[in-house]
């Protein structure tokens, strides 16, 4: 893990709502694993705290993130441009690959909204031997990114692209039509959606690993601000930033 000031390579809209920001970092491009995040100091004085972003892509020494503008931090970030620098700290958290083993045969990726962020990099690094099916859900088509993903099925709340409904509806529909051998779910998105998917996974007896979201002050285990309640076990809480962000959904109270 390192803190570094890195040059921005590009900032561009990849849909009407989603921005991809690419910077150059030899260290991070080598060290980052899929599902990890980096913690960005968005402005020098404002906002105060860093903002966590999933690693979206790594190409050569270029690392990128994607985001949509929702508040103070992303507003400032959206104004960055080539030639500016940003202060990044990472890579943080555990990664999806540590939940890959021999006990499943189909990887079901499920992304809600900007929760799609970790999946292109995960797809790139995923063992080629395992089949991937990717379910994307979003409010509308401006929140859908297909690039870098495999076997993509899309659901939008407004029906502007793909299936008209929630991503879980789509999954259920799809699962009723296909037979996936030994599926394991890898999920990222809004908590409510992850909870729903985790419930379905449990129902069909599949494992489900979700990258959790929560407000973070430090992202590296210093503040203890990012606790998630566990379903029994030795500790009542774990830290999302350090002991996660990815958890077996059966182990946590979503």
């Amino acid at each position: 893990m390192k803190q570094d000031i890195v040059p921005i390579h590009s900032v561009q809209f990849i849909t009407n709502e989603i921005i991809e920001l690419t910077f150059i970092s030899d260290y991070l491009s080598a060290a980052a694993k899929p599902g990890q995040f980096i913690n960005i100091r968005v402005g020098e004085n404002f906002p105060l705290l860093r903002r966590p972003f999933s690693i979206f892509n790594v190409e050569g020494s270029r690392v990128s993130i994607v985001f949509n503008v929702i508040g103070t931090g992303t507003k400032v970030l959206a104004r960055k441009q080539k030639g500016d620098t940003i202060d990044v700290l990472g890579p943080c958290g555990n990664n999806f690959l540590s939940f890959v083993d021999d006990s499943f045969e189909t990887a079901i990726f499920v992304a809600g909204g900007i929760g799609v962020a970790p999946f292109p990099f995960l797809t790139k690094k995923f063992p080629a031997s395992i089949k991937i099916v990717t379910f994307l859900g979003g409010r509308n088509k401006e929140l859908i990114i297909e690039k870098g993903l495999q076997n993509v099925r899309i659901a939008t709340d407004d029906g502007s692209q793909g299936f008209n409904g929630t991503v879980l509806d789509l999954i259920k529909d799809d699962f009723s039509k296909h037979r996936y051998i030994k599926p394991r779910f890898f999920v990222c998105g809004p908590t409510r959606m992850m909870k729903a998917v985790a419930g379905y996974a449990k129902e069909i007896g599949a494992d489900c690993f979700a990258s959790l979201e929560c407000d973070m002050a430090c992202g590296i285990g210093l503040c203890q601000g990012c606790n998630i309640e566990m379903n029994g076990g030795e500790k009542k809480y774990r830290l999302v930033c350090k002991e996660g962000t990815i958890f077996d959904t059966q182990s946590v109270k979503l």
Binding site: N45, L89, A217, G221, L222, C226, N227, E229
Partner: protein, 313 residues
């Protein structure tokens, strides 16, 4: 350039410490911070038993600050000694154990366990804890209890004893005087300021416990004023804490009269803030012809012609 500072028999290599609860037990930042460049590390508050802490959400960002209500989640004093201290004491710095408790007896018991530990160089007492006997009112707002805690702990250690005061009182100087009278070696000023924030969509508090502790640059002016009040009331050293993110901020505290400073929230943004602050303070002193950081302490020039009675806000 003399950077060191002595408290009782303990020599800190410089006057910059990292604050309790903002640096874990020193084991999360090995790649990020050269801990040997810090004057000292104050541990997360330790209680007798491990504490799970509060439900989430525990933190919320505010304008130039943050609220927290971690609930003093900690692994307990025994696990600290078994699992964290061995690595922590390998660093070339001083370790100050911060103690939290819900009764006077617990403060004493935790200290007795820690006092015999060689790697523990001194103590900071967090009195911003709910007194279970009094239905949860904070010890730190009752001057008699702060006196009593200081007195009881003073008997139990020869190591430096620092009492960390809460700003949430009318006159912090009364508390500092009480600590001085009972033999504290220093007081730390300030702990977090009580605050809250509301999620207007859900109409719920942004942190689970409704109110929490405000920290960060927003409170720096408050912390400086509390340090100023305190240094004018006691002769023992005052350790300034609150909103320090840069060496310039630390210099403000030294000028007002702090003998040491602690870095809190800034560690969440730049874990190496303490190191850059130490370097910056040293350079400032050099540039200003001071050969000892101590010569900066309490050099504030105030306007003596303004009487208190005149100084209406």
């Amino acid at each position: 350039m003399i950077e060191s500072f002595r408290l009782r028999d303990l020599e800190f290599k410089n006057r910059i410490l990292v604050a309790s609860g903002t640096f874990g037990y020193g084991n999360d930042v090995p790649d990020l911070v050269d801990i040997a460049k810090l004057g000292g590390v104050v541990t997360k508050s330790l209680s007798m038993k491990a504490r799970d802490g509060n439900p989430s959400p525990r933190i919320a960002e505010t304008a130039s600050g943050m609220l927290n209500s971690i609930g003093l989640a900690n692994i307990g004093v025994h696990k600290f000694i078994a699992e964290k201290l061995p690595a922590l004491k390998n660093h070339e710095t001083k370790i100050i154990a911060n103690i939290a408790a819900s009764s006077v007896g617990e403060y004493c018991a935790v200290m007795e366990i820690l006092d015999s530990q060689e790697g523990v160089h001194g103590f900071e007492i967090n009195v911003s804890c709910p007194n279970v006997k009094e239905g949860g009112l904070s010890f730190g707002t009752d001057v008699k209890l702060v006196s009593l805690i200081t007195k009881e702990l003073r008997h139990r250690t020869q190591k430096p004893l620092i009492v960390k005061l809460t700003p949430n009182v009318t006159h912090i100087s009364e508390f500092a005087r009480a600590c001085e009278a009972e033999g504290a070696d220093a007081v730390s000023v300030i702990n977090t300021v009580i605050g809250m924030a509301v999620n207007i969509n859900k109409r719920t508090p942004k942190i689970a416990t409704t109110t929490g502790g405000l920290s960060g640059p927003a409170i720096k002016p408050i912390a400086l004023a509390k340090v100023y009040e305190t240094v004018n009331a006691v002769k023992i050293p005052v350790i300034g804490i609150g909103g320090i993110v840069s060496w310039e901020d630390a210099v403000e505290f030294f000028i007002v009269g702090a003998s040491m400073v602690q870095i809190g929230t800034a560690n969440f943004i730049n874990p190496a803030t303490g190191v850059t602050v130490a370097e910056g303070v040293k350079k400032y002193c050099g540039n200003n012809g001071l050969d000892d950081v101590g010569k900066l302490v309490r050099t504030l020039q105030t306007n003596k012609t303004i009487s208190i009675v005149d100084s209406w806000l």
